[in-house]
Amino acid sequence: MRQDAFKSGDVRAPILRRPFFWIIALVITAFGLAPAVANDVELRESLLLAAVYITLASNLNLMLGYTGYINFGSIVFFGLGGYICVFLMSAHDWPLAGAVLAAGAAVSLFALLFGLGILRLRGAYFALATIGINEAVKAFVSNFEPWGGSSGLYLSTEIFMPLGGPMQALWVIYFLMVGVMGLSLYLSYGIKTSKFGLGLMAIGQNEDAAAMLGVRTPLYKAFAYSVSAFLPALAGGLYFFKSAFIQPVDAFDLGLSTEAMVIVMLGGQGTITGPTVGAYLYEELRGRLLTSETFSNFQLVISGALLLVIVLFLPGGLMGWIYGRWPRMKRVLE
């Protein structure tokens, strides 16, 4: 429950002294070193996907877990980030770094503008509005010829040359993605232990009470929404650059935000470890089911069933259960 997530570790200790800071650093290092040391390309590929899921889930958590606002269409940030990055690189020859950062900035701005409009809505209406935005953007891009319409945009293989050729580029992209993932984790943690995070949690508990107590709710919500868009946009830029191909149906796939939401709930909304562990396990499950013909989409059935169980009996997810059994973990694993 969000109440448990509230009681995080000692908020007065300087950040470098808190164990969780180093736990995150450990995870990031593990991601970075494991495939590199073993020179294992397969491992790298599956960890890349895990990193994408972790990024999406952690950033979704900022809205879903902290403020309680259900962003069903969060994938729109990922897709738009991908499109802006690929477009700038293919049509205007921008270098990767510039294109990715521009994508992040543009999408955050977009989120801020739209957020101000739809964050006045509560509960289910907000959730539906986020779906509406995703679908509207998808339908629009499908008709927008400068961005390739429904056929999408292709990147020529030469695009990997500035990075040293395709094989090396894939490694560079991987490390960058791990970086984005790491930033997402630190961002979640940083916000959670800050005054801003306190305000968001208050909104999640009881928005009207929070407003009466002086929390500037419209501003806080809009800011959270905009911030939650930035890193997924970066991830989108990197991911679609690597795929050298982007089309609306893949970029704005509502199924992916669905999975991110399931991951956050399964892992434990409002926590940071929850979405991370959940995303990793979920990606492993998906990878295993990928090649099975009948069960290739079975991860949806399994996660659907798990989600139902969680919602009915265990709303705190995995971390909620862990905190229940070992309350001392609350101080260490956030």
């Binding site: 590929e45 292709y154 395709p166 094989m167 290739s296």
Partner: protein
């Protein structure tokens, strides 16, 4: 079938070695994201040495990214869009006619019946159909037709009534377009239900499938550009002649052979021929063999473009135009164009 026949005969002869062929296949469920993951898996985990592309131009493009990243040779028998070959590839080869020549035969055939036709170009919004439409637009104008409607529809469309109403409003004589099987078949059915009364209909892909006959009266008179028909009379330099292939296929799989199965078989045959010519299974040597290839199989004449801008594009193979007609009480596909290859005259559609 190619694999089974080949292995039964002892495998591919490359230099002094004989190699049997083993397939590893996955279902991509027509999703681009899966395609990339699965091809990466094929290369890294399953250690595939040669690749065949997925079916559809969009998916072939995503797969090509992976095959080029890892330097593996891929034969594209299911992707006709030329764009894939303009992205600086080295190991991609297209074994079927490319999209920009798909409807040129239909345009010529239509011109022979109605030089001043009012044409509606209605096509699916996917890479392949868009590429076909792009070329057909120019070909239609050069032929002297009036383009009265030019529109695309989402590939997942199931309700064609708005667009059919527009076709009727435009008073078109002829319809060129379509996309793949699901939308093509649905469009054909709804054209019939709404009595669109077009004198000429050419749809891509869908009518080339035997299933299309299930539409009954809705299928009558519809023409389709085909990569190959059983009645085709090419004299092969290697491999079986058309009739023999068709008979063996029907015996083995209990369904009639069509251009999809023919192109699949040919993909294997071309790879085999290239490996045998190169005398090795080294990717670069086989690629070199494919680059110099200029052959005729039962499927037709095959030659690949070798310039850097279009590497791998198919430049020799040609389409025929087939039409669904009634013969002895049942629906069959007859070749109606080019006149040299035809097995029946073009039927005028009447409803």
């Amino acid at each position: 079938m190619w694999r089974d026949e080949l292995n039964a005969a002892g495998g591919i002869k490359a230099g002094n070695q004989r190699y049997k062929v083993r397939f590893v296949t996955y279902d991509d469920q027509s999703q681009g994201g899966r395609v990339q993951q699965l091809y990466t898996r094929l290369i890294l985990q399953d250690k595939a040495q040669f690749l065949f592309s997925p079916y559809s131009s969009g998916l072939a493009a995503t797969a090509a990214v992976i095959s080029e990243q890892y330097g593996k040779l891929m034969l594209v028998m299911g992707g006709a869009e030329p764009k894939i070959f303009e992205l600086s590839n080295k190991y991609l080869f297209q074994g079927i006619t490319s999209a920009d020549h798909y409807l040129s035969g239909a345009v010529e055939a239509l011109r022979s019946r109605n030089p001043h036709a009012r044409v509606a170009l209605v096509y699916s919004d996917d890479p392949f159909s868009k590429a076909v439409a792009l070329a057909t637009r120019d070909q239609a104008r050069e032929a002297g037709f009036t383009l009265v409607l030019d529109e695309s529809y989402a590939p997942t469309t199931t309700d064609f009534s708005p667009i059919i109403n527009k076709i009727i409003t435009s008073k078109a004589d002829a319809l060129l377009g379509g996309g793949h099987y699901p939308d093509g078949a649905t469009l054909a059915r709804q054209l019939y239900d709404q009595k669109a009364n077009l004198q000429w209909v050419t749809l891509l892909v869908a009518p080339g499938n035997q299933e299309f006959a299930r539409l009954g009266p809705a299928a009558l008179g519809i023409t389709v550009p085909s990569q190959w028909e059983i009645q085709a009379s090419y004299k092969p330099q290697f491999g079986p002649p058309a009739a023999k292939f068709a008979k063996a296929f029907e015996e083995k799989f209990k369904i009639a052979a069509d251009y999809h199965s023919a192109s699949g078989y040919t993909g294997g045959a071309l790879l085999q021929h290239a490996i045998e010519t190169a005398g090795s299974i080294d990717t670069d040597k086989v690629a070199a063999a494919l680059n110099t290839m200029d052959v005729t199989t039962f499927f037709g004449h095959i030659k690949f473009a070798t310039d850097a801008k279009h590497h791998g594009l198919q430049i020799a193979h040609e389409m025929v135009l087939a039409q669904w007609q009634m013969k002895n009480g049942s629906l069959v596909r007859e070749v109606v164009w080019p006149t040299a290859a035809r097995t029946a005259d073009i039927l005028n559609r009447m409803q």
